[in-house]
C-alpha cells in the first residue's frame, strides 16, 4: 500500500540546515495498523506529513497504492489527498461554523458528490462513530472525544486508501483516548489501513506494529500483540 525508499527531509532554518529525516525505508501492507513512535524531534510528524502530501521530501521515492507520488503541484496533491487519504489531527481541525454532518460531508463536496448523496453518506459515517444524534451540532457544542469521532468520520467519509492520524489522542484524557482507539481498531478490523503517530506507549501497543523513530532514522520496526482498547472502555 505504502512504499518508501531512502527518504530525506531537511528544513532550512536561516543559515542552518536541520536534517530531520535521514533515509527512511518503510512499507505498509493493506489492512495494517501501524504506530509511529518517537520522542519529539524524532521526525515522526514530518514523516506523516510527507505521507499525507502535506509536505514534500527532498529526496527518495514514495509510492502510494502503486501511484508514484512525485513532482506534485498543489492541485494534483489536493486531488490525491482527496482520493487516497483521510486525516485525523490532534487538534481535530473541524471547521467551527459547520455542523458535525457538514464537516463530515466536506471531503465529499470536493469529490463533486451531490448535496443529497453527501448528507446521506455523512450521516451514515456519523452513525458509525455513534454521533448520529449530534449531526446538527456545531463543534463548539461537542466534547473533545466527540469532536475527534466527527474528525474520524470525516476522514472515513471519502473512503480513503489510508487513514493518517497525527497524535489522535494527544488532546484527550485517557478514558476518551481509549474510546477513540477502540473506534480506530474497529475501523482497522474492517480492513482499512491506518497509520498512527503517537508518543504514548499504551496507545502504540493498541496497534499491530510499532515503528520507532529516533533522530530521523528507524531504529526498530516490530510486530506486536494488539491490546484491545475495548477492555478499558
Amino acid at each position: 500500500m505504502i512504499e518508501i525508499k531512502d527518504l530525506h527531509k531537511s528544513y532550512q532554518m536561516g543559515s542552518n540546515s536541520l536534517h530531520v529525516l535521514k533515509g527512511i525505508n518503510f512499507s505498509v501492507e493493506p489492512g495494517e495498523l501501524v504506530a509511529i513512535m518517537g520522542s519529539s524531534g524524532s521526525g515522526k510528524s514530518t514523516l506523516l506529513n510527507i505521507l499525507g502530501m502535506l509536505d514534500e521530501a527532498n529526496s527518495g521515492t514514495y509510492t502510494l497504492d502503486s501511484v508514484p507520488i512525485v513532482d506534485l503541484n498543489e492541485t494534483k496533491a489536493a486531488e490525491y489527498r482527496n482520493k487516497f487519504l483521510g486525516f485525523i489531527f490532534q487538534s481535530f481541525n473541524l471547521i467551527n461554523y459547520k455542523s458535525a454532518v457538514e464537516n463530515v460531508a466536506l471531503p465529499l463536496y470536493y469529490q463533486g458528490k451531490s448535496r443529497k448523496d453527501r448528507n446521506a453518506i455523512a450521516l451514515e459515517y456519523l452513525d458509525r462513530v455513534g454521533l448520529k444524534p449530534w449531526a446538527n451540532h456545531l463543534p463548539s457544542e461537542l466534547s473533545g472525544g466527540q469532536k475527534q469521532r466527527v474528525a474520524i468520520a470525516r476522514a472515513m467519509a471519502a473512503n480513503p486508501k489510508v487513514l493518517l492520524a497525527d497524535e489522535p489522542t494527544g488532546a484527550l484524557d485517557s478514558k476518551t483516548s481509549y474510546e477513540v482507539m477502540d473506534l480506530i481498531q474497529k475501523i482497522n478490523d474492517e480492513g482499512n489501513t491506518i497509520l498512527v503517530v503517537t508518543h504514548e506507549e499504551d496507545i502504540a501497543h493498541m496497534c499491530k506494529r510499532i515503528v520507532y523513530l529516533k533522530d530521523g532514522v528507524i531504529v526498530e520496526d516490530k510486530k506486536v500483540d494488539q491490546v484491545r482498547a475495548s477492555q478499558y472502555v
Binding site: 502535506l54 498543489e74 492541485t75 489536493a78 486525516f87 461554523y97 471531503p107 463536496y109 471519502a158
Partner: protein, 409 residues
C-alpha cells in the same frame, strides 16, 4: 464552478459567519453610501448656486446712473446723472440690431391696501419687455402691454405672495388696490423662481409712475436685453458702446468711472460658470478621494477576512480542495457580499438624496442628486477593487502549504 451547490455552500458560509459578513458588507455599504451622499450634496450645492443666478435672463445689461467724479465740459464734478425717456429711445435706435428688448425700471415702495388688509410693497414702473428680463411667469390675467404704457393705465400686475397676503382666497383679477392713495386695477398675478422677495413685487406701467410723479419723464435704471447670438464678446462690446453713447450724451468724461454703471449679467454668468466649474472639480476630487478611501477600507477588511481563514483553508486543502477551488470560493463569497452590500449602500444613499429635496436649502443644498451612472460606476469600481484586494491574499493563502496553514491559530 457556478453550480447551484457552490452557491449553496457560499450562502451557507455567509450566513454562518455573521460578524465577518457584517464587517465586510458594512465597510462596503458605508463606503459607497458616503460617496453617493457626498457627490449628491456637492451637486445640491451647485443647484443652489445656479438657482441664485439662474432666475433672471442672462442676456441682460442693467444700466444705472451715478454721480460724476470729475469736471467735464464746464460741468462740475459730483453731478447727479439722471436718465429720461429719450435715453431709452436713443439706445433702442442706435443698437437696434443687437437689442432684443429694452425697458426702464423705476422702483418705489408704498403702502398697499385692499379691504382693510394693508402692507408695504415694492413696486416697479416698467415696460412690457420687463417680463422677459425677469422671467416673470403669469399665473392669472396678463402682464402689462404697450397700450397700457401709452394710455398710462392705472393697472397693476401683482406677485403671487401679494395676492396671497391681500386677497386671501379671493379672486384678485379686476379688483382695485389702493397704492399710495391711488387706485390700481389688478390685471394679472405672476410668480417668479427668484424667491419670496421677487413674488412680493408689483409691476405698473412706467408711464403711469411718471404721471403720478408730476408728469416727468425720468427713469431710474434701464434694462437692456441683447440678442443672445452676439455672444459674450458682442455683449462686452455692446456694454462698451452703450457706455460711450450715454457718456457723450450726458457730458461725462470718458475716463470717469462713476458716471454710469453697467451690470452685465453675461459677464457675471461667465464668472459664475467658472466658479461652478471649480465647485465641480472640488466635487470630483471629493468623490475620487472617497472612492479611494472606500477601496482602502474594503481591501483592508478583505485581507483581514482571508487572514482569519488561513486555518480553514488549510483544513479544506487537507480534505482535497485544490487551490483554484479555494480561491474561487473565497472570492465568490467576498464578491457576493460586496455586490449585495455595495448596491444596498448605493440605493440607501440615492433614496436619502431623493427624499431630502429642499430640506437642506438653509445649508445651500438644493435638490441633491447623483447621476445614476456615476453611482453605479463608483459601486462597480469598489466591487472590482474589493475583489482584487480579496484575490491577492486568497491566492497567497491557497499557496501556503496546508501543513503551515493548519498550524495557524
Amino acid at each position: 464552478m457556478f453550480s447551484r451547490d457552490t452557491w449553496k455552500e457560499i450562502f451557507d458560509t455567509i450566513r454562518k459567519n455573521k460578524l465577518r459578513t457584517f464587517l465586510t458588507g458594512f465597510t462596503m455599504a458605508l463606503g459607497i453610501f458616503i460617496v453617493v451622499i457626498l457627490v449628491g450634496f456637492t451637486n445640491g450645492l451647485q443647484n443652489t448656486f445656479e438657482k441664485f443666478f439662474g432666475d433672471d435672463a442672462t442676456n441682460t445689461l442693467f444700466i444705472f446712473p451715478g454721480r460724476t467724479s470729475m469736471p467735464y465740459k464746464g460741468y462740475t464734478s459730483n453731478r447727479r446723472i439722471q436718465f429720461d425717456n429719450s435715453d431709452l429711445e436713443d439706445i433702442e435706435e442706435t443698437f437696434a440690431m443687437f437689442i432684443d428688448y429694452i425697458t426702464p425700471r423705476i422702483t418705489r415702495s408704498s403702502l398697499v391696501n385692499y379691504k382693510g388688509e394693508s402692507n408695504n410693497y415694492t413696486n416697479r414702473g416698467v415696460a412690457p419687455a420687463h417680463q422677459f428680463s425677469e422671467k416673470t411667469i403669469i399665473m392669472k390675467g396678463r402682464f402689462l402691454n404697450e397700450n397700457d404704457i401709452s394710455i398710462r393705465a392705472k393697472y397693476a400686475v401683482i406677485g403671487r405672495l401679494v395676492a396671497k397676503d391681500l386677497f386671501k382666497d379671493e379672486e384678485p383679477i379686476g379688483k382695485f388696490i389702493i397704492m399710495g392713495d391711488i387706485a390700481f386695477k389688478v390685471i394679472g398675478v405672476f410668480q417668479d423662481d427668484g424667491g419670496d422677495n421677487e413674488e412680493r413685487l408689483i409691476y405698473i406701467p412706467y408711464t403711469t409712475r411718471q404721471l403720478i410723479e408730476k408728469g416727468n419723464d425720468k427713469i431710474a435704471e434701464i434694462v437692456v436685453g441683447f440678442n443672445p447670438s452676439i455672444g459674450y464678446a458682442g455683449a462686452m462690446a455692446l456694454e462698451k458702446n452703450i457706455t460711450k453713447l450715454l457718456k457723450e450724451k450726458k457730458y461725462i468724461a470718458r475716463e470717469d468711472r462713476s458716471g454710469i454703471f453697467i451690470r452685465n449679467i453675461a459677464d457675471e454668468l461667465k464668472q459664475n460658470q467658472q466658479f461652478a466649474q471649480v465647485l465641480g472639480f472640488i466635487a470630483l476630487f471629493f468623490a475620487i478621494g472617497t472612492i479611494v478611501a472606500g477601496i482602502i477600507g474594503v481591501s483592508n477588511i478583505m485581507i483581514f477576512v482571508v487572514k482569519e481563514r488561513t486555518k480553514e483553508i488549510g483544513i479544506r486543502k487537507a480534505l482535497g480542495a485544490s487551490p483554484r477551488v479555494v480561491i474561487s470560493t473565497i472570492l465568490l463569497e467576498a464578491t457576493t457580499i460586496t455586490i449585495l452590500s455595495g448596491f444596498s449602500g448605493m440605493f440607501a444613499g440615492v433614496i436619502i438624496l431623493q427624499n431630502l429635496g429642499g430640506k437642506l436649502e438653509d445649508y445651500f443644498i438644493t435638490n441633491p442628486y447623483i447621476d445614476l451612472g456615476f453611482a453605479l460606476g463608483a459601486t462597480l469600481i469598489l466591487i472590482i477593487f474589493g475583489s482584487i484586494a480579496g484575490y491577492i491574499p486568497a491566492k497567497r493563502a491557497a499557496r501556503i502549504k496546508p501543513i503551515v496553514a493548519l498550524r495557524d491559530e
